[in-house]
Symmetry: C2
Subunit: 405 residues, 2 copies
C-alpha cells in the first residue's frame, strides 16, 4: 500500500483561499500515492480568538473545558479542507481525533498520545477517500477531548504515519525547509537538503522553530522520514532522516541563535553532595524549564551554579532561586537578562576534534565575550551578550562555510 501523511499548519491553512490551494496539492499528491492522510492545524487566528474568549469569561478556565474549546479550531479547518477537496472532484472525509482513533493519557493541555487505532482511517482510505484528520487533539478514556500541547499537530502527523506504516511524513510549514541558520540574520543561510534526526533535535531545541522536538523524536523512534517544506512553492524542502551521508564531511550542519533566555547564578554554594540535585528539583517542582546548567568552582569547595531559563520564567526562577540560596546558605543570586545563546550543531563534529576551539577563537576574534559554555556530542552552545549575538551567528556561519554545499 502506497501511503503518505501530510501535515499543513501555519499560514498554509491561513484562509479559505489557502485551503483551496492545499486541496489542490493534496489531490496532486494522490497521483503519486494512492492513500493520502492529511493532518491540519487550526486556521490563522482561530486558536488565538478562542483563547481570548476563554479569558473573557474566566481567569483560570478548567483544563478540560479549555481543551474542549480550543480543539474546535482543528475541527473547523479539517471540515473546510475536506469540502475543498470534494469541490475539486475527489472524495474526502474529515475525522476528529476521537473518530481517527487517537487516544491520549488522561491529562489536559499537554496529554501524550498513548495509542492510535487506525481502523476508521483505513476503512475510509479503502473506500478511496482522502482522510483529513484534526491535528493537536485526541480523546481520553472518559471520551473527553484532550489536546496534546506545543508542536501538537506535527506530532499527530508523525504518530499517524507510524500507525499507518507510512514511510514519509510531509510537514508543510511557513518556511520552505530547514536552513543552516536564520536567513533573516544571515542572508547567506542555505536550505539543507537533508539533516539527521539528532541534528534536527538539537536545532529544534535551540530555537529553530520549524519542527517541535517531540515530533522529531517520534519520527526518529519510528524511522519515519520527515519532509519539511512549504505549500507556497513546489520545490522540495529538507528531509529529516537517519544520519545522511551527503553532509557528513562537514563538521557543522547548522547554527542557531536563541535570545529568549536569561541567565541566573546562585553564588558561593558550599560544595556538598546533593546540592545541585536540590536546586534543580526545586525549580522543576515550580514547573520551570532549565536549559543550560554550569557549575564552576570559585574557590575550594565553593561553587557558583549558573543556569538559563526562558525569560518568561525569570521572575518565578529568581524567587525560587532566592529561597534555595537561603536554604543552602549560599551568598545570594544574580541574574543577567540581556544574554543570548549561540550554538553550532553537526553530527560531523563527533569525528572532527577542535571544532569547539575554532568556535571560541572566532568569537574571540570578534571580541565577543563568552559567558557560559555547554557542549553535547553534536552541539556546542555559548551564552554571549545579546547585543553581540547576531554578529556571533554571522561569524560562525562564515567560519564553518555553512553557505557552501
Amino acid at each position: 500500500m502506497s501511503i503518505i501523511v501530510q501535515k499543513y499548519g501555519g499560514t498554509s491553512v491561513g484562509s479559505t483561499e489557502r485551503i483551496r490551494a492545499v486541496a489542490k496539492r493534496v489531490i496532486e499528491t494522490r497521483m503519486a500515492y494512492s492513500n493520502v492522510v492529511v493532518v491540519v492545524s487550526a486556521m490563522g487566528d482561530t486558536t488565538d480568538d478562542l483563547i481570548k474568549m476563554a479569558k473573557e469569561v474566566s481567569d483560570h478556565p478548567s483544563p478540560r473545558e479549555y481543551d474542549a474549546l480550543i480543539s474546535t479550531g482543528e475541527n473547523i479547518s479539517a471540515a473546510i479542507l475536506a469540502m475543498a477537496i470534494q469541490a475539486q472532484g475527489v472524495e474526502a472525509i474529515s475525522l476528529s481525533g476521537s473518530q481517527a482513533g487517537i487516544y491520549t493519557e488522561n491529562l489536559y493541555s499537554k496529554a501524550k498520545i498513548t495509542k492510535v487505532d487506525p481502523a476508521r482511517i483505513m476503512k475510509e482510505l479503502d473506500e478511496g477517500k482522502v482522510v483529513v484528520v484534526t491535528g493537536f487533539q485526541g480523546i481520553n478514556d472518559m471520551s473527553d477531548i484532550t489536546t496534546i500541547g506545543r508542536g501538537g499537530s506535527d506530532t499527530s502527523a508523525v504518530v499517524l504515519a507510524a500507525a499507518l506504516g507510512a514511510p514519509v511524513c510531509e510537514i508543510y510549514t511557513d518556511v520552505d525547509g530547514v536552513y543552516t541558520t536564520d536567513p533573516r540574520i544571515v542572508p547567506e543561510a542555505r536550505r539543507l537538503a537533508e539533516i539527521s534526526y539528532d541534528e534536527m533535535l538539537e536545532l529544534a531545541s535551540l530555537g529553530a522553530k520549524v519542527l517541535h522536538p517531540r515530533s522529531v523524536e517520534c519520527a526518529k523512534e519510528n524511522k519515519i522520514t520527515l519532509h519539511v517544506r512549504s505549500s507556497f512553492v513546489s520545490h522540495e524542502g529538507t528531509y529529516v532522516k537517519e544520519d545522511s551521508l551527503m553532509e557528513i564531511n562537514k563538521p557543522v550542519t547548522g547554527a542557531t541563535l536563541s535570545d529568549e533566555e536569561v541567565m541566573i547564578s546562585i553564588l558561593k554554594v558550599q560544595d556538598t553532595p546533593g546540592i545541585a540535585g536540590k536546586v534543580f528539583s526545586k525549580l522543576a517542582e515550580s514547573a520551570i524549564n532549565v536549559d543550560m546548567i554550569v557549575q564552576s568552582t570559585e574557590e575550594d569547595h565553593i561553587n557558583n551554579i549558573t543556569f538559563t531559563v526562558h525569560q518568561d520564567d525569570l521572575k518565578a526562577a529568581t524567587l525560587v532561586g532566592q529561597d534555595i540560596a537561603r536554604e543552602i546558605n549560599a551568598k545570594g543570586i544574580k541574574y543577567d537578562d540581556s544574554v543570548a545563546k549561540v550554538s553550532i550543531v553537526g553530527v560531523g563534529m563527533i569525528s572532527k576534534p577542535g571544532i569547539a576551539a575554532r568556535m571560541f577563537r572566532v568569537l574571540g576574534d570578534e571580541r565577543i565575550n563568552i559567558k557560559l559554555i555547554t557542549t553535547s556530542e553534536i552541539k556546542i552552545s555559548c551564552v554571549v551578550d545579546r547585543k553581540d549575538a547576531r554578529r556571533a551567528l554571522k561569524a560562525l556561519h562564515q567560519e564553518f562555510e555553512l553557505h557552501k554545499l
Copy 2:
C-alpha cells in the same frame, strides 16, 4: 429529583459578556432546582461565519462535512458557558451531542433524534455539576456528527427534558414571551401568561418565530411545560402547556402576519380525479413546501388550483407549475408575489361559532380584499394584499380584544 432543563439561544449567548450573565442566571436557577441541564445555541454570528467559509471553498459541500463544520459553533458556546459558570464558583461541564448521548438517524442537516442515553449527564449531575449540552447536534451510528435542522436547539432541550424526566423546560430567546401578535406592528399586543400546545403550534407555523413547531410537538407528546422567556429580564414569560383554563373564555388567543409567502394559481384545470395529487406530488418532489391549498370551481368541471409557497421558492414553483400545467392541459399559471397571510388562532373558537364571520366582516369593514381562505379547528387564515396586511392585523387584534386580559 428536582431537575430543570434550560435552553439559551439567540442574543442570550451573543457575546462573552452575555454568557457571563447567563452563567449567573444558571447559578440562580440552581438555588431552586438541585439539577440544572443547560442547552446552548452557537454564539452570535458563529454559525453564519462558518457557513460563509464553507461557501468559499465549495458550492455544494457534502452534508456530512457541513454538519461537522457548523456543529462546532455549539461546542464553542458550551465550553465557554461551562467556564463562565466555573468562574462564578459552581462546578460545570460541557458535553457535546455525542458525549451527552444524543443519537440521531443517519441523515445530515435535518436528522431526527432517535434516542437519548442520559447516563453521562446523570453521572455528572450526581457529582454536583451543572451540565451544559451543545444544542442542534447529535451523533449517528457511524459516530459521525449530525445536525438536527431548524429549531434544533429548542428540540434538543425538550428531548433532554423528556429523557431526564424534567417537567419544565425553559426556553430563553430574544423576546420575553409569546405575544397576542407582533408588538412591532400592534403596540397593544399583550404577552400571554399561558398558551396551549396546539395554539402555540399554529402560531409557530404561522410565523411567530419564537419556538420551532418541532419542539412544541415534542413537548406536547412528552407533556413537558415550556417556559418561553428572556435572559435580559427577570419576570416570567409564557408557559406553553396543556389547554389552559385561564384563557379558554376567549375565542381567539393570538393573531399573526406572515409576509414571506407568494400565491400561485394553476388556471382552468379539468376536474379529473387525481389531478390535485399529481400537482402537489410534483411540487413535493422538487422539495417545495406548500402552505395553503385552495381549489375553486370556475365553471362546471373546470377548476383553479391555488397554493402558497415561501417567496424563496417562487421561481422553482412557477417552473414546476408550468410543467404541470402543460402536462394536464391546464390554461397556464399566474402568480402574485405581493400578498401576505393574516391568521387568528385560538382553542376557544372550537366552541364559539361565528368567529370566521367576524374576521371576514372586520376585513370587509376595512375594505381589505380577501384572496384566499383556509381554516383549521383552531385557526383561520386569509391571504390579503401585502400592503393591507398590517392594517388587517391591527383591526383583528382590536376586534378580538387581544390586548385585554
